[in-house]
């Protein structure tokens, strides 16, 4: 089965936890929880807007983690924090990763922390038992790709296109090529993301990798007024599209976090 990893900007609305739970019920294999940052350099207009709106509401990393702690018992889906380097370094990588673990997070993705700068955060994440997933880009050389993959934990994240996050009208050709290059050198599941929009692209991205991450397309709906139930329905539709495509392919898939979501394997 193809892994489905939706992204949600934490704190975007007052009832954002309801959205999180709706996404879980709709069949997410893991959820990327965006911790909003003032300067989201790798995000397009949609996630910038979502981050700005969350910050304008006055949410903080502390308030987000606090809210998550309160619903820990209800969250069965692995949570992956998605945020920028400054929020990690400001409290210090050790403290930051420990706080993530205490709030129930399983993973962490930091898009402006490339291989060359990753050592300190890698160590801190490992200590806190947080899986730090690294990103590979279409322009990454083979030599670098091998090293990134070797250091990545949980998944390897394939940046589908040269650009920021943000809804796209089609899946870039670079996505399949990159996913294939990564799969050739690892047994970790490959998540394809950045701009994947709608079931058709999700299926294509899922075929290229082992799973698909979908952010802007979902956040656009929430910014435009979708309720938690609406978002759940959107994710359920993606789940259904991925599942029927997987049945057709009956291709072998690899599963991360085996003890939690192994039922999908």
């Amino acid at each position: 089965m193809t892994l489905l990893v939706p992204y949600l900007t934490a704190g975007l609305t007052e009832d954002w936890i309801d959205y999180l739970l709706a996404v879980q019920e709709a069949g997410a294999d893991a959820i990327e929880v965006g911790l909003p940052f003032s300067d989201p350099m790798l995000d397009g207009a949609t996630i910038q807007q979502a981050s700005d709106r969350a910050l304008a509401r006055g949410v903080t990393v502390a308030s987000i983690l606090q809210e998550l702690s309160l619903v820990r018992g209800q969250v069965r889906t692995p949570l992956i924090a998605f945020t920028y380097a400054n929020l990690v370094f400001r409290p210090g990588p050790d403290v930051f990763c420990r706080r993530l673990a205490e709030a129930g997070f399983r993973g962490l993705i930091v898009p402006d922390l490339p291989l060359d700068e990753v050592a300190e955060v890698s160590r801190a994440a490992e200590q806190a038992e947080i899986e730090l997933t690294l990103l590979v880009a279409p322009v990454t050389t083979d030599e670098r790709l091998a090293e990134i993959v070797a250091r990545s934990r949980g998944y390897v994240y394939a940046i589908s296109r040269m650009g920021t996050t943000g809804e796209q009208t089609s899946l870039a050709a670079s996505a399949a090529a990159l996913a294939a290059r990564i799969k050739a050198v690892t047994t970790l599941p490959v998540l394809v993301g950045f701009g994947v929009t709608g079931p058709e692209q999700a299926v294509a991205a899922g075929r290229a990798g082992d799973g698909v991450a979908i952010g802007s397309a979902l956040m656009r709906r929430v910014l435009d007024g979708a309720t938690a139930a609406d978002l759940g329905a959107e994710v359920a539709a993606l789940r259904a599209a991925l599942d029927s495509a997987s049945q057709e392919d009956s291709a072998e898939r690899r599963t991360p976090y085996a003890e939690v979501s192994g039922h999908r394997g």
Partner: protein, 385 residues
């Protein structure tokens, strides 16, 4: 303190704990390629000769070192002004853009992307692009577009496209984010022509080297090694270029920030726009919005080498207020017949404030970099009582 030369820097561009390359993986190969291309060009006598010629016959270098006779007499210090306001386009920004535009052409790029605050870097980038036949897109915060109309018109006249940035504080910080996003999307075709000594490696080193012409000229022109070398600091490029000429002397190096954007005075270590440096931020790491009358200093960060020079004590950083700056523009204009930019006036304001005090004792010999001219600021000044 050793001279900080590009040839001695480690590949990752560290300045002590500061610097580095905190960029998305998508930009890493481009940063690598740029670092290699710059190193190669900077050690190529033909490239240096071409740049030096442009600086002379096009940009009007060397710029003079003008004794500020009236102010010197009144303040009891010897004040020499390094006149970057007289360089083509009206500021030191031309030194950097000519070098980077030549480099972009050498790398086979057809297009440059730039961020701008006051618009001086945008104008300089548009100028270099016109000269060398490159396309030019400039990202500028909506708020800066409003207060720097003259420079917007200059850029469009030069054939550049000015893209308004409407996110965040709608100033230089957000324009920089947007320019980096645009670079990710056209990394093969475009060169990101960063305007100051911030950003990922190799920018802080490259821009300092390209601006070192300021300090190197001033050192030759000055009849003595000054006691104090002072410049305003936004991202820190005119200061870095000035300091480079005196780093191995006994001169004290002084950078002056805007009180509302004083990363060295009020900031803490953080990672923004690709480098670890000093940043204005809250306890969790959200970057604060700066607030200065000078659009070019309205920035919450600073180049990483300044963070390093400050941490080691080799350079000192102080802040002056908007009111002091406005008064300084007027006083310099009346006393010396020079209308400087609001940015540059920060350095002047510090000298006016401290002359005769413990930070700048009577008799001190001072070289001050006047980074730009004030034409662009006349509307802003006119609106201040």
């Amino acid at each position: 303190m050793p001279t900080l030369s590009v040839h001695q820097k480690p590949a990752t561009g560290r300045f002590g704990d500061f610097g580095g390359r905190f960029v998305p993986e998508s930009l890493v190969p481009a940063c690598d390629a740029l670092a290699a291309a710059f190193h190669e060009a900077w050690t190529d006598p033909a490239f240096r000769a071409e740049l030096d010629e442009l600086l002379e016959v096009y940009a009007g270098r060397p710029t003079p070192l003008t004794p500020a006779r009236t102010l010197s007499a009144r303040l009891g210090v010897e004040l020499l002004l390094k006149r970057e306001d007289l360089a083509h386009t009206g500021s030191h920004k031309i030194n950097n853009v000519l070098g980077q535009a030549l480099l972009a052409r050498r790398m086979g790029k057809h297009r440059i992307i730039a961020e701008t605050g006051a618009g001086q870097h945008g104008v300089a980038a548009a100028t270099a692009a016109a000269l060398l036949g490159l396309e030019c897109t400039v990202y500028m915060g909506e708020r800066d577009i409003e207060r720097q109309q003259l420079n917007v018109l200059r850029m469009t006249t030069l054939g550049a496209t000015v893209v308004p940035v409407t996110t965040g504080s709608r100033t230089l910080k957000d324009a920089t984010n947007e320019a980096m996003r645009a670079w990710v999307a056209d990394v093969d075709g475009a060169h990101f022509l960063l305007g100051s000594v911030g950003g990922p490696h190799p920018y802080p080193t490259m821009v300092r080297e390209l601006q070192s012409v300021i300090g190197n000229e001033a050192r030759t022109q000055s009849p003595y090694v000054p006691d104090v070398v002072v410049a305003c600091v936004g991202g820190g490029s005119n200061a870095a270029g000035t300091f480079a000429g005196f780093i191995d002397t006994t001169a004290r190096l002084v950078g002056i920030e805007a009180a509302g954007g004083a990363a060295m005075t009020d900031g803490s270590p953080g990672v923004v726009h690709g480098a670890r440096s000093m940043v204005l931020q809250d306890a969790e790491g959200q970057v604060a919005e700066a607030e200065s009358i000078a659009a070019g200093l309205d920035y919450p960060g600073i180049g990483p080498e300044h963070a390093f020079l400050g941490a080691t004590g080799r350079a000192e950083y102080y802040a002056v207020t908007d009111d002091e700056v406005v008064a300084a523009v007027r006083r310099l204009a009346r006393a010396e017949g020079i209308i400087c930019a609001l940015e540059s006036a920060h350095a002047v304001a510090w000298v006016l404030r401290e002359a005769g005090g413990p930070l700048l004792p009577t008799g001190s010999r001072v070289v001050l970099t006047l980074s730009g001219r004030g034409d662009k600021d006349m509307a802003t000044l006119g609106a201040v009582a």
